[in-house]
């Protein structure tokens, strides 16, 4: 991760948000980052309020539980702690921008957004004609992140990754990015991945690094591993209403904690036990025997 990088994260929408990586980026005091994602939930708000962000390319920036993201609002409305540039999208247009890059294309056409202001004088979206004579469309230009940070359930050491539950734009971003970092609940033997090749949404040769970080997405959920912890989203929403409140949250939950293990300890065993999924609801048997 370098200052000025364009980073895609939070791609599965409300689940699998790599908060451990988000907090580490804040601790490392990265600067001038561009954030890319559909609806980023409070991860983007935290990075913006911490002053690491110069630009946001997203469809929705806030706190899904609470609504407004106060860090985002302060940066956008008052330039505090710094001014940010916002490239507004809808979920579909940011998805098409990533998909275009994933397909090795300069753009993809769409009808979405016509008649609205998002696509008006947009740096990445232009009106085009249908070469077959149909009604006019919009061209959504390719968006290639420098880095995509993906949280999955399991991956092998080569980065071949099994992801289930919400997918959102995870696959598109992993294909599109110059570097893809896979964070997983478990690094597993390659035999586990090979047992179900249709579950491998990200082939290992696209992956730059594999990191085993159980609970690295908390307080967001990971299907089959962690429930969503609702309370931190609400309490962050309340406390981040003022810069002072955010600063105290930042100290308590990021700066004063060296890593995710410390975060989990600070969260407390009772909470993590409540959130950890222990019961099993397994996918039906699927036979790959040749």
């Amino acid at each position: 991760m370098h200052d000025g990088d364009a980073i895609a994260l939070g791609l599965a929408l409300e689940s699998g948000i790599p908060f451990a990586a988000v907090h580490e980026i804040i601790r490392q005091q990265r600067r001038d980052l561009t954030l890319i994602g559909p609806i980023s939930d409070m991860a983007f708000d935290q990075m913006i309020a911490a002053g690491t962000v110069a630009k946001v390319i997203a469809a929705w920036v806030g706190n899904v539980a609470g609504g407004s993201g106060y860090g985002f609002r302060r940066a956008y409305e008052q330039g505090q702690p710094r001014r940010i540039v916002m490239e507004d999208h809808s979920n579909f247009t940011v998805g098409l921008a990533l998909k275009a890059a994933a397909m090795g294309l300069p753009y993809l056409p769409t009808f979405t957004g016509l008649g609205g202001d998002i696509v008006r004088s947009h740096p990445r979206i232009r009106p085009i004609d249908d070469p077959f004579g149909g009604p006019p469309l919009l061209a959504v230009g390719a968006l290639r992140p420098d880095v995509a940070i993906i949280h999955v359930q399991r991956a092998d050491p080569q980065g071949n990754a099994h992801l289930w539950g919400n997918l959102g734009l995870t696959v598109e971003a992993a294909y599109a990015a110059r570097r893809t970092i896979v964070i997983c609940e478990e690094v597993v033997p390659d035999a586990v991945i090979r047992s179900d090749p249709n579950r491998t949404v990200i082939p290992g040769f696209l992956v730059t690094a594999v990191v085993e970080e159980p609970g690295g997405a908390l307080p967001s959920s990971v299907q089959g591993y962690w429930r969503r912890d609702f309370e931190p989203f609400l309490s962050y929403h309340r406390i981040s209403r003022t810069p002072e409140g955010f600063a105290s949250w930042l100290r308590e939950w990021v700066l004063d904690l060296p890593d995710r293990q410390a975060y989990l300890r600070h969260m407390g065993a009772p909470t993590s036990e409540r959130l950890r999924v222990t019961d099993r609801r397994l996918a039906a048997a699927t036979n790959f025997a040749p």
Partner: protein, 249 residues
């Protein structure tokens, strides 16, 4: 005789009535999610629900969900695809009706959830999410709003979710459900279809920042039945979305 109910519960019932059987519905969270479940449980057992994160459900989640990505919304889904898969189906015209909300609305059904200076200073809102796509591409849209003068504006500062406009290929706002009534937007203007019990036309006019058609004989919104209320209170036991404290949309 009907049980007592609050306006949120009435809005959920009104939302449910906008869903016909066998329809494919682009479901939002909050009131529309409850409305979808209520419709499934009553008059629309074969309706199918799509969520912008890629989830497709033909029955509501077994337990309460705070976001569409919560694990209970995945478990038991008939399909969990990618965002672009469901958006492709939406763009293809396979979705009959979609629900969206907004901070501001104008007479053409344009919704603003991006930024507003209505209050004198600029306020940044979260943005479109999938709402702009649903507004653009669904077969028809149902809008859910708080009915307040500052939200009902002659012209919104920013059109996040396009309403009626010349050259629209498909769909557009059909119905607006507010805290005061149910309104028909299909004609490109706002006409009261029903006012919630106890709401007077004058009250609605005062709460609407632009001219609005209210017939003198305008009907009253049919209150929730005991069965409908029972479903809503089972689905939202804490009144998380339907308690009197919370905001609509």
């Amino acid at each position: 005789m009907t049980a007592t109910y609050n306006r949120r519960e009435l809005m959920v019932v009104a939302a449910a009535r906008e869903i016909h059987d066998d329809e494919v519905v682009f479901v939002g969270m909050r009131l529309p999610l409850l409305g979808f479940g209520l419709a499934k449980a009553t008059h629309a057992p074969n309706a199918v629900g799509l969520f912008e994160n890629g989830v497709i459900r033909d029955q509501p989640a077994e337990t309460f969900i705070y976001t569409m990505g919560d694990p209970p919304n995945i478990a038991g889904a008939v399909a969990c695809l990618g965002l672009l898969d469901v958006m492709s189906l939406l763009q293809q015209g396979r979705v009959d009706v979609g629900f969206i909300g907004g901070a501001e609305i104008d007479p053409l059904g344009n919704l603003n959830t991006t930024r507003t200076s209505g209050s004198g200073w600029m306020i940044r809102l979260p943005g479109s999410g999938g709402a702009g796509d649903i507004a653009s591409l669904a077969g028809r849209t149902v809008l859910i709003m708080e009915h307040e003068p500052r939200r009902f504006r002659e012209r919104v500062d920013y059109v996040t979710s396009p309403g009626h406009f010349p050259g629209r290929r498909r769909g557009g706002p059909a119905t607006l459900i507010t805290t005061l009534g149910v309104f028909d937007l299909s004609g490109g203007r706002v006409r009261a279809a029903s006012l919630h019990p106890g709401i007077r036309a004058q009250q609605v006019r005062e709460a609407t920042g632009f001219p609005i058609d209210i017939d003198d004989e305008v009907a009253a919104t049919t209150p929730p039945s005991a069965e409908e209320l029972a479903y809503i209170r089972h689905a939202d036991p804490q009144g998380f979305w339907t308690g009197d404290a919370v905001k609509a949309g």
